[in-house]
Symmetry: C2
């Protein structure tokens, strides 16, 4: 009988060894994709692409078992040879190939020059050829940074006593109601895709006190803007026993501080490739919604047209204001008007036309919506009735409140928007591996 | 201007302090839900439930600011008082209440006795009242253990150079084809929900070499069994530059070893609550599909009815065989017949009627399917043609292979099944917070 014991011996010597001090003058084996070939006649430089970065190898004419004419970009290969110092190469070294094995070969030449520093193609062209375009090392670096943000979110919250949950994406009705839901037939029953894990994460505060989820959400919004996706990844948390809605903002600030430290530590190479300067999150200003509107109106001589909502231009100006006045990249805007928040938002007892809620703006774009929720059964039903809404389909949500719930609140962070703003991208699609929008369902 | 600096001062003294040595004889503040009340006349014991566990508090008659008659189960409260040693109480201590603040009150009595050790209710009743039933500390412990498995999967793979990805759940067509897909209208275009991230994770091996995703998958299968869910969480990975499909099995074995260690370290309380004995994963036997069938047929005197597939009973017997013969909880079954694997599975060059693939059985139930994939463009197209399939809708998937892909393979683990088997549950619904099946779309 054969047994697997969890170990596997690779010929490939690993990146740490390859870029370490001990390998110089010694033989190494590297697996990688041929990212580019520069044939100089007597020698050819083969730049190999691996998950960790690029590595230079050299094939001398009439050395080794292959000719450069047998090789093409996008082949995957295993090379063997001695590593020598070479100060002009990345990592100050290169491998002189003594033998090369072709692991796989492409069927056609590359449709774009992915080895260029910047892909000089339209966003549309990049998205049409997404799995190819992402082989560009700056394109892929964006998604390593996105990984760092997700990872930081989870690790920080584990440390704060949160439990990770997985809630269903197919349900009988949505949390916010309304028309912005994708509908489907679930074994002949009408169903919708979840706009957010809102109801579930709230119900789970009665079980675990603090919960989070990182998963897809679906919005059938007919927006076609640079800020909207119809499917995106939401970083959601919900916490019980809060003293105030500001405790949620403190938790988010703590997450951002943790995330920037993690990026600095583990994603320095990607930050450098993309020339990203991390924002200062040591303290984040907080301003009331109505006050923010007034400040911006005054400073930029702009008329307040709609006192109940922020227009995108107004959000951008709030961002500009706090950058100019406080050198702040982020700003919490609090106390949104009750009529623009969902029924479950808790109204401010001091003035019920406003809610104990907030958005977080990052360089003038909303990246988070959060707030305290109503936890009292009777208050929740009264709010539903006030709004002229139906309780139908919310029975189990309401039953949970009937049987007691801690004071609680939470937030949802749009991962792609957070990534987009951190990277200084103009379009949220740049920060989504395979975006879904009004026109795009593939790849 | 107010600023958030990421800190928040809680009155609640925290679990570590509460269960530590220094608090004895000192005053503490605890937030929690009243899990149960035992009124003895002169004193009443209030057991508080928190995310970390249960804590005993004592309310003496005519002491403090409230009477036990004002209190009900499922209230959430903040209590203040001195912590004294009490060997009969959990953690050997209790808090004598000097003051109690009611944070929230239920509207109705609890519909089930969640403070019982075991909930003596049917699965159906538990699922109907899921957010309430999960307040039972043994019920919720299952999902802490599930968290540990997901966490281990990610942490282990980060350490192995994998990149986390988020792939779209709405797409133009499914990876496996066939009828088992939920269909929806995506802005008047036909769309489906992803059965797996298969195509995407494969395409991404060309970018990051090694990728993983933990997310929901959707199967419109009309099975109504104890093993099937129509939406579940899949732990998926895909790795490039593999030497053999067995390298994938080695990686999974490494994950399981890491997971059991993490559970032992960080989830000991939950394992103990549920009386779970962790399986030995130091070595996992591996057996060919045809050989496994023969072994079981011989030992249990059972006729081989279908040489191309394993019946559930056969899987159970394979599990039994390897338990009896090798004391193994897990077994890899390799080389599944080509006709029962998807088109992208790589056939065994030694005998193309079999594939370089495997399932992992845990106590006789399949918890993983994996294998090596075809990486050559021409070979992939030939296999599609052989099967009489259409390339329509797979253009972008195929284009990726046209432009070169490393030898690769991967697997998908059903998180709920893995949890179910680890806990020794009879029904996979016990290991899913909010199951979706043929009949259940709520809560």
């Amino acid at each position: 009988m054969e047994f697997m014991d969890g170990t596997w011996k690779k010929d490939d010597c690993g990146w740490d060894v390859l870029t370490g001090n001990d390998i110089i003058g010694k033989e190494a084996v590297i697996d990688g994709a041929i990212h580019s070939i520069r044939n100089m006649g007597d020698v050819a430089f083969l730049i190999l692409r691996r998950k960790e970065g690029l590595f230079q190898t050299v094939l001398e004419k009439d050395q080794g078992n292959v000719s450069v004419h047998d090789l093409r970009e996008a082949m995957t290969v295993r090379v063997r040879g001695v590593v020598n110092e070479e100060e002009r190469a990345p990592h100050g070294r290169e491998l002189r190939i003594s033998s090369l094995e072709i692991l796989s070969a492409p069927a056609e030449p590359m449709p774009m020059a992915i080895d260029k520093w910047k892909l000089n193609t339209s966003l549309e062209a990049k998205l049409n050829l997404r799995p190819i375009a992402l082989r560009n090392i700056r394109e892929r670096a964006k998604f390593k940074i996105q990984e760092g943000l997700t990872r930081a979110f989870r690790d920080f919250l584990y440390g704060q006593g949160f439990t990770e949950i997985h809630t269903p994406k197919i349900g009988a009705r949505g949390a916010e109601g309304g028309a912005n839901m994708f509908k489907l037939s679930y074994f002949h029953k009408p169903a919708v895709l979840a706009q957010s894990p809102q109801f579930y994460k709230q119900m789970m505060t009665g079980v675990f006190d603090r919960v989070f989820e990182t998963g897809p959400v679906f919005r059938a919004e007919k927006h076609n803007t640079k800020r909207h996706l119809n499917e995106y990844t939401s970083l959601d948390f919900e916490m019980g026993y809060i003293d105030s809605f500001e405790e949620i903002m403190a938790m988010e600030t703590g997450f951002l501080q943790y995330a920037m430290k993690l990026l600095e530590k583990d994603y320095a190479q990607e930050l450098s490739l993309l020339n990203v300067t991390l924002p200062d999150v040591s303290r984040i200003p907080s301003v009331r919604f109505d006050e923010a509107k007034r400040l911006v109106s005054k400073k930029y001589d702009r008329k307040i047209r709609n006192p109940y909502d922020l227009e995108p231009e107004e959000e951008a100006l709030i961002g500009q204001y706090f950058k100019e006045e406080y050198n702040a990249d982020f700003v919490f805007v609090t106390h949104y008007p009750s009529k623009k928040r969902p029924f479950y938002a808790m109204d401010d007892p001091a003035d019920p036309t406003y809610t104990l809620s907030f958005d977080l703006l990052f360089h003038g774009l909303e990246v988070t919506t959060g707030g305290q929720r109503i936890h009292d059964y009777h208050a929740l039903r009264a709010k539903i009735a006030d709004r002229g809404m139906e309780e139908e389909g919310m029975e189990q949500y309401l039953d949970t409140f009937k049987h007691g719930m801690p004071p609680h609140g939470g937030l949802g962070i749009g991962l792609e928007r957070l990534t987009m703003q951190l990277l200084g991208e103009e379009n949220v699609r740049e920060a989504c591996l395979f975006p879904r929008d009004l026109n795009r369902l593939e790849p």
